[in-house]
Chain length 367, copies 2
């Protein structure tokens, strides 16, 4: 079992990573002073519920906790105000009070949604994260919780830190291969930002990670969470530094915006985005290996590293413009300076970015 502390002063909390932790859930709740008088509400989704909910319910019940479960449809569309309203209704029916705790059992969608229920129910009650995807190592650190609006993602939310995070590696065994690779994209991102040795380790162990080897996964999540935690504790409210976590996301978000439904997962989009950022880094003066290594590691993780031919460069640029990170021909961009190091630049030429996006497409054609 690995343990990591997210250092946020009064709001600090631990992340426990290990096999079979769900079976001991009750003892973790107890250890964190969660009382048994008030009911808990477990929020999960329709893919996770049949696979892992009974175990969690049983473990809490055996420990003397009263828990009610709410299952939302799997997928991003559950991150809505309407679903927030439904879940608050379920919380009221179940009699949740100020001392009750919301438990998020699932990936980033469930974590963000359940976290915002916890942040706003009775103006804020406690919550516990039990992530079941690799990508959720990212969303379980930092306290950003939110739902979507038809006009913008994650636009209605709060900063609300969990009491603790229980990462049971056993739950990851049921992840579809595409979600495994997609989650690894953010793991590699954390290495690219801050830890060259870990990027190297990822390359050496990519096959084991994709095969869901528990010990390798545990180490990767521990390191990934560690980088995110260290950035977040330096900038809890996203005033500046935290922007480096957006490596690959400027291009990535634009790709998601123009891609057809289910064509690109988030991790796949930012994988391509990180290759683009690496190219830009080299153009800004970073050594050539920033590009070659980034591309090689991501490919080993089963991720796309070039832009499929049918994508329209104008549409991608328009989507980036919409993001309003532009002003007068330049934009803010997270640019690698070496493997394991990035800088926030506000002077990147829009023209260069367009050329990079075109190159990403050419690469695919050359393959």
């Amino acid at each position: 079992m690995r343990e990591l502390n997210v250092d946020l002063g009064e709001r600090s909390y631990p992340i426990y990573i290990g096999e079979g932790l769900i079976n001991e859930a009750a003892s973790y709740f107890q250890k964190h002073g969660i009382g048994k008088k008030s009911p808990l509400l477990i929020i999960t989704d329709s893919n996770v519920a049949p696979r892992h909910l009974p175990q969690l319910e049983e473990s809490l019940r055996n420990g003397g906790y009263r828990a009610v479960s709410a299952v939302v449809p799997a997928g991003e569309s559950s991150k809505s105000l309407a679903m927030l309203g439904d879940l608050v209704g379920e919380a009221l029916d179940a009699g949740l009070d100020r001392k009750s705790v919301i438990v998020a059992l699932g990936g980033g969608v469930v974590g963000d949604l359940a976290g915002f229920v916890a942040a706003s129910y009775m103006r804020g009650i406690k919550f516990v994260q039990i992530p079941t995807t690799i990508l959720a190592h990212d969303s379980s650190v930092g306290g950003k919780v939110a739902v979507n609006h038809p006009k913008a993602k994650n636009i209605i939310g709060a900063f609300h830190q969990p009491e603790f995070v229980l990462y049971d590696l056993g739950t990851l065994q049921t992840l579809p291969p595409r979600d495994v690779s997609s989650g690894l994209a953010e793991v590699v991102k954390h290495g690219l930002i801050r830890d060259a040795a870990f990027v190297d380790w990822c390359e050496q162990n990519a096959d084991k990670l994709r095969a869901l080897d528990a010990d390798s996964l545990g180490y990767a999540l521990y390191k990934g969470c560690g980088v995110k935690a260290s950035v977040v504790s330096q900038d809890e409210k996203e005033l500046g530094l935290r922007a480096i976590l957006n490596l690959g996301h400027t291009i990535g978000h634009a790709l998601e915006a123009v891609a057809g439904y289910n064509e690109l997962q988030h991790g796949e989009a930012i994988s391509i985005g990180m290759v683009g950022a690496a190219r830009l880094g080299v153009r800004c003066g970073a050594p050539q290996d920033v590009y070659t290594t980034t591309k090689r590691v991501l490919a080993k993780c089963g991720l796309p590293v070039s832009l499929p031919k049918h994508y329209d460069v104008d549409a991608i640029m328009a989507a980036m413009m919409h993001d309003k990170k532009f002003s007068e021909g330049t934009m803010v961009f997270i640019v690698p300076t070496a493997i394991g190091s990035v800088e926030i630049r506000s002077d990147v030429s829009v023209e260069w970015v367009r050329e990079i996006v075109e190159e990403l497409k050419l690469e695919a054609e050359q393959k």
Copy 2:
């Protein structure tokens, strides 16, 4: 012009009370470091907009601010998740960013709703309160913001403190008499909790207050906000002491729950509730004048002090039970010990409360 500081450490903010302050709104915004690059969003309601919005818009425009206005239908039903979604849509259309500010121009409904938009838009942006009712002196202190759920009032919300409060006594001149009295109920409540001399002053000046004499109103709001601010700064997150602000609200909420639509305003319900609480106080050993004074002052403010005959005591008790403040025959109740002083008791017999409610009804019959 009167000025009062709500002392909450880093989140402290001033309340400015005076005539014509709206006309100088821009200079207050400037004084508080609110920039002119990002657009502001003014949220107001359909009663307030025709009366006071043009003035505010003009004043901000003349000061160089860009402000967009959103007008919601007047009334409690605008405090909903659906309205939150609509307003976030308007904020996005208007291009609000992290540096934008939400301006609440209206009573408690607008304050609570706009405050929650500000608390959750992009995970929290700044907001400014410009209260236009007397009751809103209460809601503008303490940072409690929320919307309702069909199953419960104020159940989805946050603690989000404003940057400052601009109380323009001029806006109060258009208040209907019933809203004036209703607002005075909370003013008197603040006196009953902490300030006997102020209760006395309220009795002496009740007629001037009801006639909307600006200087008297300014003083009353200053004192009322002052009591609330002092309680809130001792207990920002409502962990204990803040409960004393619920004087009259246990019975009051139950009355609101069983009353027909528009039969009782909030201030009217808590006026009756405070008379009930005073009766209970005397029963618990407080001097008789706690009851007679409470009743006399509230009546002078034009408020009901007894329970209309057609109210059903069983229904009222059931509504209180629903509030879950009960356990095994006793309940938590805010009980006056003298004029200007209350205590939180958790041992009040449910039977006594029922008798008090019956007495409140009898009083009406004797009249």
